[in-house]
Amino acid sequence: MAAPVSVHLEFGGGAELLFDGVKEHHVTLPSQPEPWGMRQLLVWIQRNLLKERPELFVQGDSVRPGILVLINDADWELMGELDYQLQDQDNVVFISTLHGG
């Protein structure tokens, strides 16, 4: 059983509009048999935090194209994208790059 993992989530660039305008969320993911990875985190976010229009945030397994994900201030492509295993006190930021200006 994996211990509960607490992560700090941030939404920016317009993505917060799908979460009732709340930009920062401090969440504790419940313990479960498999370790928490990005895949499970996305499912969890969709179930518990996403307030409307899920298709604007997730697409299939991953985030919608155009949403940039930073894990601990580094591009998630460098961390393995969906295969990254979450650790306690990780900081995950979702920035929408489509709502430009």
Binding site: G13, P65, L68, A74, T97, L98
Partner: protein
């Protein structure tokens, strides 16, 4: 594919840990110095890994190089920054702020001011919400120390008709005079520091908001509405720049935005004006040049820069926020490009490179007449008899004809005639003077169509009624019609210019 590593060192050292991955396509030109290249080829798709400090330098250098290389903005020139509050324009503002505060050698040398157009009325936001967003922005503007203007979009209804006309540039902008101007500036006395501050904005009038909403509501499709909104915004920005003496208008459109814009323009029938809509500089208005310094930055780079270096942004909803994918052409192009970019990371930079190679034939910044009434680009509908446009117009005429009546397959009358003798549809007595005497007559869609370029004609076609068009557009349409009638009357006596169309 070759891969470049910028000596990032071991990932255990937090300052040297790579934080961003960017894919770039280079053709023929050499990649930036300092990066080791494993496999040189004429064309390479490369992956750049950045550490935090290098990223900041890269970003700043690219911005300054863009402005310096093109030598468009002269020292001491008054420049207006169009800031919407979104990520790209906020990054542009932050770069300009940094650039002006550097040591004398490399610093930016122009005099910036900020303008923000409050479009809340067009989007149906409440007054309270609009004031909240504007005051958030004003906090950011005040912190920059520049003069700023926040103007509600409703002001566009009060513009003079001169805004859609080309005016001659106010001072010599030849490339050779740039070097001389820089030398003078380096030697000369320091400029007086600007007193940053806002200009008090005019009070919002409910009826104007309603008129604006009616105008936008008369566009049946979201595509037409979005194009109309951006045209009105552009007019208001240019008017602000003109009346306050700014000769350059900096827009914050990023590379990704412009790639989407390019595809959208082609879909909307604006292919003839691609160079002006997506190029670095756009001189269609003559005295005010639109410049796009953020053109080389992808949306991802801007987002990371803003996040890492704490650039404040205010997200304001737009017409297509939370709209489904197929709601408009703009939206569809955007999802197409971003989805393609996911699997083929060089999509955006390839489209961008294509747009760089575009130029307007015959120079984009010529003649006064023959300009579209809305977008001020050249009217491209004077097509020859064998063109695709002509074929489309003929089949449209055929479809609209009554079966018993005579079929007119002649070419469309030349632009400017308000009622030709053969076309009895307007129902007024034929005779030029009678039709054009009334100054406040509501314009006919058909007459307006002749003064527009192809894509603006399509926008007009999507509008259910032209009764809500702002007064300045209607007045200008009248003026051009009268001019062209007059020109026809005296055409026999005019000396033809050599080589005119």
């Amino acid at each position: 594919m070759c891969e470049m590593q910028r000596g990032a060192g071991s990932s255990s050292d937090p300052c040297r840990r790579p934080v961003l991955q960017v894919r770039r396509t280079w053709e023929a030109e050499a990649p930036p110095r300092g990066l080791s290249v494993r496999n040189r080829s004429a064309r390479a798709d490369c992956v750049l890994l950045f550490v935090r400090s290098c990223f900041r330098d890269y970003f700043t250098h690219k911005f300054r190089a863009m402005l310096g290389k093109t030598r468009l903005i002269f020292p001491g020139e008054k420049v207006l920054l169009a800031i919407s509050g979104g990520p790209s324009s906020s990054a542009m503002l932050s770069q300009v702020q940094q650039g002006l505060s550097q040591s004398a050698q490399k610093k930016l040398r122009f005099l910036p001011a900020i303008v923000h157009i409050d479009e809340g009325g067009a989007l149906g936001l409440s007054l309270v919400e609009r004031q909240r967003l504007v005051s958030e922005l004003q906090v950011i503007f005040r912190a920059s120390g520049f003069n700023f203007y926040t103007i509600p979009l409703e002001q566009v209804l009060d513009l003079p008709s001169s805004v859609v006309n080309v005016a001659p540039p106010s001072f010599d902008q030849a490339p050779d005079s740039y070097k001389a101007a820089v030398d003078v500036d380096l030697q000369g006395a320091g400029r007086d520091p600007q007193q940053g501050g806002g200009v008090p904005e005019p009070r919002l009038d409910e009826s104007q908001t309603r008129s604006l909403q009616q105008l936008l509501g008369s566009a049946a499709t979201l595509t037409a509405r979005a194009e109309l909104l951006s045209t009105l915004r552009q007019h208001l920005l240019v008017h602000t720049a003109r009346t306050r003496g700014y000769s350059k208008l900096l827009l914050g459109e990023s590379c990704s935005r412009l790639a989407v814009r390019l595809l959208t323009c082609v879909s909307l029938g604006r292919g003839a004006h691609l160079a002006q809509d997506t190029g670095f500089s756009d001189c269609r208005f003559g005295d005010v040049t639109l410049v796009r310094p953020m053109r080389e930055f992808s949306a991802k780079e801007i987002a990371v820069y803003n996040h890492m270096f704490g650039v404040p942004t205010v997200i304001i909803p737009t017409l297509d926020t939370k709209m489904p994918e197929k709601a408009s052409i703009q939206r569809l192009s955007q999802s197409f490009v971003s989805r393609l970019q996911q699997d083929f990371p060089s999509t955006v930079s390839t489209i961008y490179r294509t747009s760089e190679k575009l130029q307007t034939a015959g120079g984009g910044c010529s003649a006064q007449d023959g300009r579209c009434l809305l977008c001020v680009c050249s009217v491209d509908t004077a097509a020859g008899k064998a063109s695709a446009l002509q074929a489309r117009l003929i089949s449209e005429q055929l479809c609209c004809q009554e079966p018993a009546g005579t079929v007119q397959v002649g070419p469309t009358p030349p632009a400017g005639q308000c009622c030709s003798a053969t076309d009895g549809e307007c129902g007024r007595p034929a005779g030029g003077a009678g039709c054009c005497s009334s100054h406040f007559r509501a314009p006919e869609k058909k007459e307006l169509q002749k003064l527009l370029c192809y894509s603006c004609q399509l926008i007009l076609r999507d509008m259910s009624s032209v009764a809500h068009l702002p007064q300045y557009i209607v007045a200008e349409a009248e003026r051009r019609k009268r001019r062209s009638l007059m020109k026809d009357e005296i055409s026999e006596f005019l000396l033809e210019e050599e080589g005119s169309s």
